[in-house]
């Protein structure tokens, strides 16, 4: 049962208007600011918490027992990191025109690595390759297939083969043309704290590379 009450709209009645409107507008503005200030911490709380960030700190890996031609896989920030001890033969092959002709981005022009890894070997030291082992197509972990030829064909130089959709990479993590993956495998920030220990997740002292700036993991 609705009594018909008079409808008061705030717009009507401009007498004594400006001071009242100012107060009302100021009130609404403050309430809006207040609401935003309440929403902000709630949204921020979903950011990675301090313990999660700490767990993503750099890890030191002892590579003294990695034989030439061998790969080990470690975890950094919950992602697989490939560390490969490349042989001199493998290193030579990386420079040849035959190998480069197969590749989509042989000079690593796309930003998928720190500046200190933008070279022919995509690494700090030629004999050790460090990659983020996540296929740049849809995120599977590629298989390490260092031996040339074999079931992947006579022109297979050795490298990585992703079982999910067939993307291929060479032994510097560079992606082949004509495969679904668009980009080279990323190189994480890393440097050698000693000859036998590599620290994944930290730049060398003279570099300030932000890993978040690469095109895509």
């Amino acid at each position: 049962m609705a009594d018909s009450a008079q409808s008061h709209s705030l717009g009507a009645g401009h007498d004594a208007g400006s001071r009242r409107d100012f107060l009302v507008i100021a009130a609404n503005a403050l309430v809006g600011v207040g609401a935003a200030c309440v929403a902000w911490p709630l949204i921020k709380s979903m950011n990675p918490a301090a313990d999660v960030l700490a767990a993503g700190a750099p890890v030191d890996i002892d590579i003294s027992s990695v034989q030439p031609g061998q790969q080990i896989v470690v975890l950094w920030r919950s992602r697989p990191i490939f560390i490969v001890h490349r042989t001199p033969d493998e290193l030579t092959k990386l420079q040849t025109d035959a190998d480069r002709a197969l590749l989509r981005d042989p000079d690593s022009d796309n930003l998928q690595q720190p500046p200190y890894a933008k070279n022919a070997y995509r690494s700090v030291k030629p004999e050790y390759l460090v990659l983020v082992g996540i296929c740049t197509h849809l995120g599977c972990i590629p298989n390490f297939v260092p031996a040339p030829g074999g079931s992947l064909g006579a022109s297979w130089p050795g490298g990585y083969f992703c079982p999910c959709h067939g993307s291929r990479y060479d032994l510097a993590g560079r992606v082949f043309s004509g495969v679904p993956a668009p980009l080279n495998l990323p190189v994480p920030p890393y440097h050698f704290v000693s000859d036998t220990t590599v620290r994944i997740g930290e730049n060398p002292p003279d570099s300030t590379f932000d890993f978040g700036s690469i095109e895509q993991i």
Binding site: M1, A2, D3, S4, A5, Q6, S7, H8, S9, L10, V24, A27, V31, P41, L42, K44, S45, M46, N47, A49, A50, D51, V52
Partner: protein
């Protein structure tokens, strides 16, 4: 109907009349012009419900409902999660403040007779909301898995064993085990997440019931015409916002400067099933009921007295026989009401102490008075009291005789 000309608004409104609905419920809904600040507490309770749900959801993103991880996950929220300490303290103190505003809202209803015809169902829905709040708060307090969480839950769930025959089976069923443990914690978490949304639904019904006949008012007399009422918006929207702001200052003082004042230090000790704390005390908002429970030396009757103290609220509309709503015009009941308020505080104080010595006696007197008030005093005072004469209308009481010079009344005579 003052609908904006905006095309988009009209397109939506034709298909789902939200804007017409809001215009009707806010701009056109007639509210008594004489509501005082005791009428702010309903909207405050609604806002506290929203605050609890929002902080609760964000806390739920970080909490782990397992006996081995629960306590530590709460401390992780306090230390490692950005603003986790803020959400936790708001949620923790928010429960207390939700009860403060709700209790004041209830006492407002008792004083002004807001439960009387035609608002009986409105009142009953409110008591349902109170029961749901109590269940939600009880289960929520278990989640941090402190000493008081565990032992308070043990004591209260053990109450159900009082029921003859099936009591022990009920308790085992509640626990999901031989004692409070992981199954209990998990189901309390699930239910604690669910019940607030049930509360939202019942609050919706509560508002529908309210809008049927509109709010009561301090004089307790019906609105007789348009001069007695004003639209809810902008008058009560602004008044409610102002009241909310004052309330938030007090809330903020607790959250930021005394966040553990209303809590129990024992709950910062991880739950230990092998060690009972020296005193098991529920949170302050349960203390009066705890006192009633312990005032009766028999387990089953103590449980009945405690549940009865809430069940009696359901029949208040029929217990009160007065023809007059507001205690403003009830010279005898006006003072008796305050006895109930004092009784509630006394029972709360008793509940906080061990049941020894004078506390037992006072607790029993308090329990006796509680039931006396509802079952005897309310009906009898209603029958025998001579109320003061009621004013002819709200407008006349508020504005003085005539009331014709007011722009409101004049405008009311024009067609909207």
């Amino acid at each position: 109907m003052a609908l904006p000309q905006n095309k988009i608004v009209r397109w939506i409104d034709r298909r789902l009349p939200v804007f017409t609905f809001l215009d009707h419920e806010l701009n056109q809904y007639p509210t008594p012009r004489n509501l005082n600040y005791w009428w702010n507490f309903g909207s405050l309770a609604g806002i506290m419900l929203v605050i609890m749900i929002v902080t609760g959801i964000f806390l739920a993103m970080q909490y782990t409902p397992h006996v081995d991880y629960a306590f530590n996950s709460v401390e992780r929220i306090m230390r490692d999660v950005d603003y986790g300490w803020l959400m936790r303290y708001i949620h923790m103190n928010g429960a207390s403040f939700f009860f403060i505003v709700t209790y004041i809202h209830i006492f407002r209803g008792l004083y002004y007779g807001s439960y009387k015809e035609p608002r009986e169902l409105l009142w009953i829905l409110g008591v349902v909301i109170l029961l749901l709040m109590m269940a939600t708060a009880f289960m929520g307090y278990v989640l941090p898995w402190g000493q008081m969480s565990f032992w308070g839950a043990t004591v209260i769930t053990n109450l159900f064993s009082a029921f003859p025959g099936i009591g022990n089976d009920i308790v085992t069923w509640l626990w999901g085990g031989f004692a409070i443990g992981n199954p209990t914690l998990n189901r309390f978490y699930a239910l604690h997440y669910l019940l607030p949304f049930v509360i939202v639904a019942v609050v919706g019904l509560h508002l529908v019931a309210l809008h049927q006949h509109g709010s009561n008012n301090p004089l307790g007399i019906d609105r007789k015409g348009p001069q007695d009422s004003i639209p809810f918006h902008p008058y009560y929207t602004y008044k409610d916002m102002f009241g909310l702001s004052v309330f938030l200052i007090i809330f903020a003082l607790f959250v930021f400067y005394a966040p553990n004042f209303l809590g129990d230090p024992q709950n910062y000790i991880p739950a230990n099933p092998l060690q009972t704390p020296p005193e098991i005390v529920p949170e302050w908002y349960f203390l009066p009921f705890y006192a009633i429970l312990r005032s009766i030396p028999n387990k089953l009757f103590g449980v009945c007295a405690m549940f009865g103290s809430i069940l009696v609220l359901f029949i208040v509309p029929w217990l009160d026989t007065s023809k007059v709503r507001s205690s403003y015009f009830r010279p005898v009941y006006k003072w008796v009401f305050w006895l109930l308020v004092i009784d509630a505080f006394v029972l709360g104080w008793v509940g906080a102490h061990r049941p020894e010595g004078w506390f037992v006696v006072i607790g029993r007197i308090g329990t006796f008075y509680y039931y006396l008030h509802f079952l005897i005093l309310m009906p009898f005072i209603g029958w025998f009291e001579r109320p003061l004469p009621l004013p002819p209308s709200i407008a006349e009481a508020v504005l003085g005789k005539g009331g014709g010079t007011l722009p409101g009344a004049a405008a009311a005579r024009e067609k909207p």
